[in-house]
């Protein structure tokens, strides 16, 4: 979601960023945008709580390809410099999957199996050896961010369309959902490259594509992990995910404004089946 709209998600999530974090992120996002010359949109993605400090994650959407490409940047609350989230090898991915502890907040943390914590290295010392290439918390962070985004990133129906050149773009003429459609889960889809075979086939058909090609969130198993309700004034629709507790999405009724963010520990709710 846009950083300046963060107050819209407060009634739903209960969590927000404080002034220090917003101010730090504004600066960091502008700096990253200009340093790397990013033409696309930089959005606030979420905050992952750790024991010593928290991670703030920013999402960059690049609409130049066939499907919008997402890139993630993170920073910690002690140092507001956005760094790109690293790519993971399959070995690191399987290692990350096995960990269910809370995040510590230190991106270079590596003592997952009771190993010795490494000696702190003075960054200005020219003789210091470079840090070892080993599975660190930053890799786990990368894995979790991608998982959460894959499972949770929501977009209302009609906001993404396939144009005549078979490119998926944000619909400039999207007018928003109506009161009744916004109360139903099937008006919302995943913002990711479609995984359902009908969607993939629909994208390849000649001519203008009117069918819904994105994965609808009602197709997730179990459907009950998504809850949708209106706010008390009936002007916005709120969606929450119960598997990744802390993912919140809002869509204003009748306008094209919407956004989602994750405020949580980064640990999925594996007991979901018992809790429903």
């Amino acid at each position: 979601m846009e950083l300046h709209n963060i107050h819209k998600i407060c009634p739903l999530s209960g969590f927000t960023l404080n002034i220090e974090e917003i101010s730090g992120l504004e600066v960091a996002m502008l700096q990253r945008k200009r340093e790397e010359n990013l033409p696309g949109k930089l959005l606030f993605w979420g905050k992952i709580f750790g024991t010593t400090q928290d991670y703030l994650v920013v999402l960059y959407i690049d609409s130049s390809d066939e499907f919008p490409v997402k890139k993630y940047y993170y920073c910690t609350t002690s140092d507001y410099t956005l760094r790109a989230v690293p790519q993971l090898s399959t070995e690191y991915e399987s290692q990350a999957e096995g960990i269910a502890l809370q995040f510590t907040g230190d991106p270079s943390f590596m003592a997952y199996n009771g190993e010795e914590p490494e000696e702190p290295v003075d960054p200005d010392d020219p003789d210091a050896p470079p840090p070892k290439e080993v599975f660190r918390e930053v890799h786990r962070l990368s894995f979790i961010i991608k998982q959460i985004d894959h499972d949770c990133s929501v977009i209302p129906r009609g906001a993404l369309v396939v144009d005549a050149t078979k490119k998926v773009i944000f619909n400039n003429y999207y007018t928003g959902l109506s009161y009744h459609t916004s109360a139903e889960l099937r008006a919302f889809s995943h913002f990711r490259f479609p995984e359902n075979p009908q969607g993939i086939a629909a994208m390849k058909k000649p001519g203008i594509i009117k069918a819904d090609f994105l994965d609808c969130i009602t197709k997730d198993v179990p459907t009950e992990m998504w809850t949708v309700c209106h706010n008390s004034s009936g002007t916005a629709s709120y969606i929450r995910n119960l598997y990744w507790e802390g993912y919140n999405f809002y869509a204003m009724i009748g306008t094209s404004e919407y956004g989602g963010a994750y405020f949580g520990t980064g640990v999925p709710n594996l007991d979901l089946a018992f809790m429903l």
Binding site: F49, T77, I208, F274, M275
Partner: protein, 408 residues
């Protein structure tokens, strides 16, 4: 028209999209004319009802109300919450404050003061919860099943799901069995106070009882305050917790952020519920002779004003980093009940909870196994085995009766 006005870069592609939409709705020119669809009757009704209810809250009363019960200054606390990263939306929070204020005018003076406990989220609308001293009568409470005002039922809680309608429902008092059962499973609440809780082991009560048990667990485990704020009242036996004297407070506070960042600067000011679901010891049970019965496995009660366990709490200083100064706030975030926070700054502190009410456990939940089957009764060595009594046989012929009886 839209294309001419907007002049997008890919005008041809945009035109294709719009033309396809128009072709789909040949009878509805409104879409092309960019007129908005009129709202449905349901939408109008809901939004109007909300607006009317809120304006009642915002209306200035004719005469100033009596202040029997102190209501929390939420607007002041909001600043503390926001530094901790907690917010309910500023205008929503103001309406919540008005609602709590007007509710406090209807309460008896025994409640003394209200505190905003926090929100517990559900699968539907969240519960906004406020806490006050329990004004209920203690007559008729079975001390073996339930504690009174000296224990787990010291506070009573009111909840609402819609701040503007100003209808706060009181939650029932909690019993020991409910606390013990609530610890054994995890269930999302549905958002309806009368809903049954289908769980294993079975929970003795409905959702309002379950909500009350969760609140009791959270309150017991995460009510912490800076050391020195509360002190022991030695006059009572066992010693109870009371607010420290004004002079002591002036000496100890204000504390700097450096001091508050350490775990030993914090204490629990509410007693944590023990394994039986109690804060105070079980009352002594007397047997027939008047001698006290010792329980087989006495369960300890936690001492008042206990220090906190450092591994269960994470501390943050806000503003931190380069903005840190001695009067910075310190936020203590619970790692056991994620969402429970205590925020302290100079002379003030608040406790708040935002979450689903669940405990964090590093291992996944597995339901308890069903109890062992009961074995057949086997007679002891010297006892005779049980013998089934003979069936009583009666003569089925009816006795000779003088009159007839009508049977329906």
């Amino acid at each position: 028209m839209k294309i001419l006005l907007d002049r997008p870069g890919n005008a041809y592609d945009m035109f294709e999209l719009i033309s396809a939409e128009v072709k789909e709705n040949p009878l509805n020119p409104e879409i092309e004319a960019n007129k908005s669809v009129p709202p449905t009757a349901e939408e109008v009704e809901k939004q109007l009802a909300w607006a009317v209810a809120c304006s009642k809250l915002l209306k200035r009363p004719d005469e100033p109300p009596e202040v029997n019960v102190k209501f929390p200054d939420l607007m002041d606390d909001l600043m503390l919450y926001e530094w901790a990263g907690v917010s309910f939306g500023r205008s929503e929070a103001y309406r919540l404050y008005l609602s709590i204020k007007s509710f406090s005018e209807t309460l008896p003076p025994e409640v003394e003061r209200l505190r905003f406990f926090g929100i517990i989220k559900t699968r539907g609308l969240p519960y906004y919860i406020i806490e006050g001293l329990n004004p209920d009568d203690e007559e008729g409470i079975d001390e073996m099943q339930q504690e009174g005002r000296s224990g787990a039922n010291k506070f009573t809680y009111w909840v609402t799901q819609s701040v503007e309608t100003n209808s706060w429902t009181k939650l029932p008092n909690v019993t020991m069995a409910q606390i013990v059962a609530a610890r054994k499973f995890k269930k999302y609440m549905s958002g309806n106070l009368d809903a049954p809780i289908s769980s294993f082991p079975p929970f003795p009560g409905n959702e309002s009882n379950y909500l009350r048990s969760q609140i009791a667990l959270i309150c017991g485990a995460t009510s912490v305050s800076p050391a020195g704020y509360f002190e022991l009242n030695e006059d009572d036996d066992p010693p109870t917790v009371k607010l420290a004297e004004a002079e002591t407070l002036n000496e100890t506070f204000p504390k700097t952020a450096q001091e508050l960042k350490e775990p030993d600067a914090w204490v629990h000011h509410e007693i944590e519920l023990n394994a039986l679901g109690r804060c105070t010891a079980l009352p002594e049970q007397l047997d027939d002779n008047g001698d006290p019965i010792e329980p087989d496995e006495p369960v300890e009660v936690a001492p008042p004003l206990k220090g906190i366990e450092p591994e269960q709490w994470a501390f943050r200083v806000s503003p931190g980093g380069s903005g840190e100064h001695p009067a910075s706030l310190v936020v203590a975030r619970s790692l056991v009940f994620p969402g429970a926070m205590a925020i302290a700054a100079a002379r003030r502190f608040v406790n708040i909870y935002v979450g689903y009410g669940m405990v964090y456990s590093a291992t996944t939940y597995s339901p308890p196994l069903p109890g062992a089957l009961q074995t057949e009764w086997v007679p002891g060595e010297d006892e005779e085995p049980l013998v089934e009594t003979e069936d009583v046989r009666t003569d089925p012929t009816p006795p000779k009766e003088e009159g007839e009886e009508d049977e329906d």
